[in-house]
């Protein structure tokens, strides 16, 4: 199969799964108790209110018709208007995506840069003190909920040391004096484009604790998977052969084994992104980070159904896309797959 047809097949699968995702959201909201009407107008509405809401949400039409129009609109990126901001959901999303991207992307780079070496060190020194230490810390770390990691960091670095700001993306003085104009939505980059060092460092300082929270809470996962993969490779026969031939151990570990491990590790990046998306919902909530996660939580608590569906679909779609890229990369790197 050529790469082209592979990509084509994967894209088709992506569309099907995305349609499935939207279908699940649609039917859960229609079939299970707690209808969107209740969501929209709240407790004990009058009969007229219910009718008006039904027409506005298109609920007066038959279920298949509703489903089709929902699907078609969603495919065009039209999730309706947010009930709480009154603006098209997709605009709200566009405005906040940069904040989430900045947070998750930075954390992802960090967690891979730290987690992969830790896992490799752990695997190479199996059952030795270094391995036992890394494993102990990651077992303990995996038992901490994301919000506790965030709270502990806030207590330590803001409460005790006063090093980093507690919440938000920029100090309010900078945010409201009109000198700062977001372009890409990534404040760290925007401030550099604007050439304002003070804004840059302010944005960076705000980024530290949320990024640390997200990184630390995903680190155990990445470390453990890397360790398992590397250990599997270390048990391969060609590794034993290399050892038997008297090749230097460090050369075998870091030249042969690590290379063979890095290829399947590409897939870990996709998985990590998924965990980041779940974590970012909690992290943005704790740090008042004005991204998609915080928007999602607020939309849910305000029963803002269109916004909830919109954000969920967009986040799920981004996860699918990242994983598609990861698979293609994997395909391109692994010669065994290239020729099939």
């Amino acid at each position: 199969m050529t790469l082209g047809s592979y990509i084509g097949r994967r894209l088709l699968m992506l569309v099907i799964i995305l349609a499935g995702v939207i279908t699940i959201t649609f039917f859960l909201s229609r079939v299970l108790p707690g209808s969107p009407v209740e969501m929209m107008i709240g407790y004990r509405p009058t009969a007229e209110e219910i009718e008006a809401a039904k027409i506005e949400l298109g609920l007066d039409k038959s279920l298949p018709v509703q489903y089709l129009s929902f699907l078609v609109d969603a495919a065009r990126g039209d999730f309706g208007k947010s009930l709480s901001t009154g603006r098209p959901v997709i605009e709200d999303i566009g405005q906040r995506a940069g904040a989430t991207l900045e947070l998750t992307f930075t954390s992802m780079v960090l967690v891979l840069l730290i987690g992969i070496p830790l896992g490799v060190i752990s695997a190479v020194n199996r059952e030795k003190p270094a391995d036992q230490f890394v494993r102990a810390v990651s077992i303990a770390g995996a038992a901490l909920p994301v919000f506790m990691v965030g709270i502990l960091l806030q207590m330590l670095f803001e409460g005790q040391l006063g090093w980093f700001p507690l919440q938000g993306r920029l100090s309010s003085s900078l945010l409201f004096d009109g000198s700062f104009e977001p372009r890409t939505g990534l404040y760290v980059i925007d401030s550099l484009i604007a050439g304002s060092w003070s804004t840059f460092f302010d944005a960076l300082a705000h980024l530290v604790l949320p990024v640390a929270t997200l990184t630390l809470s995903t680190l155990p996962l990445v470390t453990r998977i890397t360790r398992n993969m590397m250990m599997e490779v270390l048990e391969e026969e060609y590794i034993r052969t290399a050892h038997a031939y008297g090749v230097r151990a460090s050369y075998v570990h870091y030249r042969y084994a690590l290379r063979a491990t890095l290829i399947p590790l590409i897939t870990v990046a996709g998985l990590t992104y998924g965990y980041m998306l779940g974590g970012t919902v909690v992290v943005e909530f704790i740090f008042d980070w004005p991204g998609l996660g915080g928007y999602l939580v607020r939309s849910i608590s305000r029963n803002d159904f269109p916004a909830t569906v919109g954000v969920t679909t967009v986040l799920a779609a981004s996860y699918l896309l990242i994983n598609l890229v990861v698979d293609l990369l994997y395909h391109a790197v692994d010669p065994r797959l290239r020729n099939t």
């Binding site: 038992a143 909920p145 965990y275 704790i286 999602l296 849910i300 608590s301």
Partner: protein
């Protein structure tokens, strides 16, 4: 499978277990930790020193002391007693969600693996849709769709978790289906249903149990996170994640309001994970979970 000794019941006889515990102190620690939490849940009224919901403004935000072991919250409620009662909620969440996810997922996986073909393809593609969601985002989305609250959050967690069990069950069944004793049973005219229940299910349960013990703690963590962001447990329910959330504006000045509920989650999840790892080694020495 030639290596049947690993599944020999003699391995888990009392003497074997005692030796196993001595060799694996972390497993023993997990057992002790979980036993403490379970005791808290079972005997909460006897262990708690105060009424967990009694409001007492005269004693609000008092630090840990002999009277209030873990201090009090902003309504003067005794945090120690609330943490003790919270064990009930969290263990119940873990048990119900895991059981529900297995109850939905395992039969689907069994049917898919046993009958194969179109049934299999259809069910597994369905599972793929669920698995295509980023973890934690699916339960959040489902809770959003069916309404917030602890019960709905539990349903949401089970719905987002069952496909994993379907997959695990399916892969076990695929392996077992081709065993000679299954062929023998079929050749003797035993019905499909009976073959599945009597011959396949008992041999396919080990990976499910191991995964279940690991997911039990994941479920508690996820539920605590849902409660923390306000879409899981609601007041006046007593849940550790919710307690941490209620302490959100307080913890900078009153550290005990968030530390003890957080510690309770930590100890519970850590204990269960240590037990899960130990169980995996005990029941399935060769297998390693990929999740």
């Amino acid at each position: 499978m030639s290596d049947m000794s690993a599944h020999d019941p003699a391995m888990i006889q009392p003497r074997g277990l005692a030796a196993f515990l001595r060799r694996r102190p972390l497993f023993a620690f997990g057992i002790a930790g979980l036993a403490t939490i379970v005791a808290c849940a079972l005997f909460a009224p006897f262990i708690a020193t105060h009424d967990p919901v009694a409001i007492n403004f005269a004693d609000k935000l008092v630090g840990p002391s002999a009277e209030h072991l873990f201090g009090t919250d902003n309504l003067g409620r005794d945090i120690f007693s609330r943490v003790v009662y919270g064990a009930r909620t969290s263990l119940l969440i873990g048990a119900i969600v895991t059981a529900l996810a297995i109850a939905i997922g395992a039969p689907l996986g069994l049917l898919a693996g046993y009958f194969g073909g179109k049934t299999d393809a259809f069910m597994m593609r369905g599972c793929d849709v669920f698995l295509a969601f980023p973890p934690l985002l699916l339960p959040i989305a489902i809770t959003a769709a069916i309404g917030t609250g602890l019960l709905n959050a539990m349903i949401a967690l089970a719905i987002s978790w069952f496909p994993w069990y379907a997959r695990i069950m399916r892969s076990s069944v695929l392996r077992i289906r081709s065993e000679l004793y299954v062929d023998a049973a079929r050749a003797m005219g035993v019905s499909h249903g009976r073959v599945m229940v009597r011959h396949i299910v008992p041999n396919a349960m080990t990976p499910i149990i191991v995964q279940g013990s690991l997911d039990f703690s994941y479920t508690i963590l996820a539920a605590a996170s849902l409660s923390f962001i306000g879409i899981g447990a609601q007041p006046p329910q007593i849940e550790w994640g919710l307690m941490a959330s209620q302490a959100r504006s307080l913890f900078m000045d009153f550290w005990w309001t968030v530390t003890f509920p957080g510690l309770a989650i930590f100890v519970t999840v850590l204990s269960i994970n240590l037990i899960g790892d130990g169980l995996r080694d005990l029941l399935d020495p060769r297998g390693s979970s990929t999740r």
